[in-house]
């Protein structure tokens, strides 16, 4: 069982690599958006708040797009039926897929982050802090986005607006992410803790709710 689980992770990793072109396109769009943002406000002295807030919002949308795309492809009816009949529970498969989406996005972010910070005129000395904080917050974003995606892709869901119910869950991440700009110079430990705690909270119920929605609404 463990051997096959590891094999499943390796196979999901291969799938994730195949889907990297879409992530690359998304990050190219992010760079274009950051350039436009930076150029349009070049005469203003913004400090770090505005560029970082913009970056977070863009990352939030990129994650939503990516999760939505992966879920609509990987959880169509035929694949979902096989996943349900797999000896691995659907919750585990959802968890593995979410972690792979996370890995995919975070690798791209780490690669692109120096360029993004330069474009947004943010001091490169904050590179590591921004990377760490974004890595932690992205975990929660992906797991919440998976709940949203599982509802929106479902074929039996007559009221697709139901997915809006998950949107308030993003609010604490975005609020705390914006607050980073105020505390990044000081002790950021509390921020780390919040993101870890929020991720653990999401980890407890997100795979369960996602797989429940997939089972009930899509088969």
């Amino acid at each position: 069982m463990i051997k096959n689980f590891l094999k499943l992770i390796a196979n999901e990793f291969k799938l994730m690599l195949k889907g990297s072109v879409f992530s690359f396109v998304l990050f190219c769009l992010l760079i274009i958006a950051c350039s436009i943002f930076s150029l349009s406000l070049r005469s203003e002295s913004m400090g770090m708040n505005a560029p970082l807030s913009f970056l977070y919002i863009m990352i939030f949308f990129i994650s939503l797009f990516k999760v939505e795309k992966i879920y609509s492809l990987d959880f169509d009816e035929a694949k979902l039926q096989q996943y349900i009949l797999s000896p691995f529970s659907l919750e585990i498969i959802v968890f593995v897929k979410n972690m792979m989406i996370y890995l995919n996005l975070i690798i791209f972010f780490v690669i692109f982050s120096p360029l993004i910070l330069i474009i947004l005129n943010i001091d490169l000395s904050y590179l590591i802090q921004i990377n760490i904080l974004l890595s932690l917050s992205l975990l929660s974003i992906i797991f919440i986005a998976s709940m949203t995606a599982s509802i929106t892709i479902s074929k039996n869901n007559k009221l697709s607006l139901t997915s809006i119910l998950t949107l308030p869950l993003f609010v604490p991440i975005l609020i705390f992410s914006m607050a980073i700009t105020d505390v990044i110079d000081f002790n950021t430990n509390k921020m780390y803790l919040f993101f870890v705690a929020y991720f653990l909270l999401n980890l407890a119920f997100s795979p369960l709710l996602t797989s429940f929605a997939l089972k009930k609404l899509s088969v």
Binding site: M1, K3, N4, K7, L8, N11, K14, L15, K18, G19, D76, E77, A78, K79, Q81, Q82, Y83, I84, L85, S86, P87, F88, I93, V219
Partner: protein
């Protein structure tokens, strides 16, 4: 044994079927037939516990079928293909065998692949295959995943005569090994003894 008692199913306000009853013992095949839209696929979905019936119950060896029983004992091959277009045929085989937690011997895997695909290049991307070849990948699971019950939704669609004969060979061997098979199809199965259920 799979036992279905007084099974009814409705989608919204529309009753799809009512009072379906049948029993299938190990070593038996049930052919479910009927016109389009009478609920053949829906009946299979009920049996595999993908959807819940309106009334009635389905048991496997006396126990109600839940997700655990379904994943342990049932292999379901539906109408639509589940493979990933971006992966090669070989990668798809590896992927779905790992999803089904199958430890396969390379020799057995190659033998099974050769039985269905002959000289086909396994490094071809899945989207490059024809409809029939794609269908065969689904049916390859029948040979490599060992589960006592096969639920097959129209397994012959898109297959040539030679492949249909091979599928029949697989069905025959499964019955000989005391497996249970439920098949929906518009055509008759070229096997000696099997039960039929006509949905109206």
């Amino acid at each position: 044994m799979i036992e279905v008692n007084n099974l009814s199913f409705a989608r919204g306000n529309i009753l799809i079927y009512k009072d379906i009853n049948f029993k299938i013992s190990p070593g038996e095949l049930l052919l479910v037939s009927g016109a389009n839209g009478v609920g053949k696929t829906t009946l299979l979905s009920n049996i595999v516990n993908f959807t819940e019936p309106l009334e009635g119950n389905i048991t496997y060896h006396g126990t109600s079928i839940d997700n655990h029983i379904a994943s342990e004992c049932f292999l379901y091959i539906g109408e639509n293909n589940f493979a990933y277009d971006t992966l090669t045929l070989n990668q798809n085989i590896d992927y779905w065998l790992s999803v089904h937690n199958v430890n396969f011997d390379k020799f057995i895997k190659n033998k099974s692949v050769n039985f269905l695909f002959q000289e086909l290049n396994l490094d071809k991307k899945f989207y490059q295959l024809s409809f029939g070849q794609k269908k065969k990948l689904q049916l390859l699971l029948l040979m490599l995943v060992n589960k006592p019950v096969w639920i097959l939704d129209d397994p012959y669609s898109g297959l040539d005569t030679r492949s249909i004969m091979k599928i029949n060979t697989l069905l025959k061997k499964k019955i000989e090994n005391k497996g249970i098979i439920i098949v929906t199809s518009h055509q008759k199965i070229n096997l000696r003894n099997y039960k039929t259920l006509q949905l109206i």
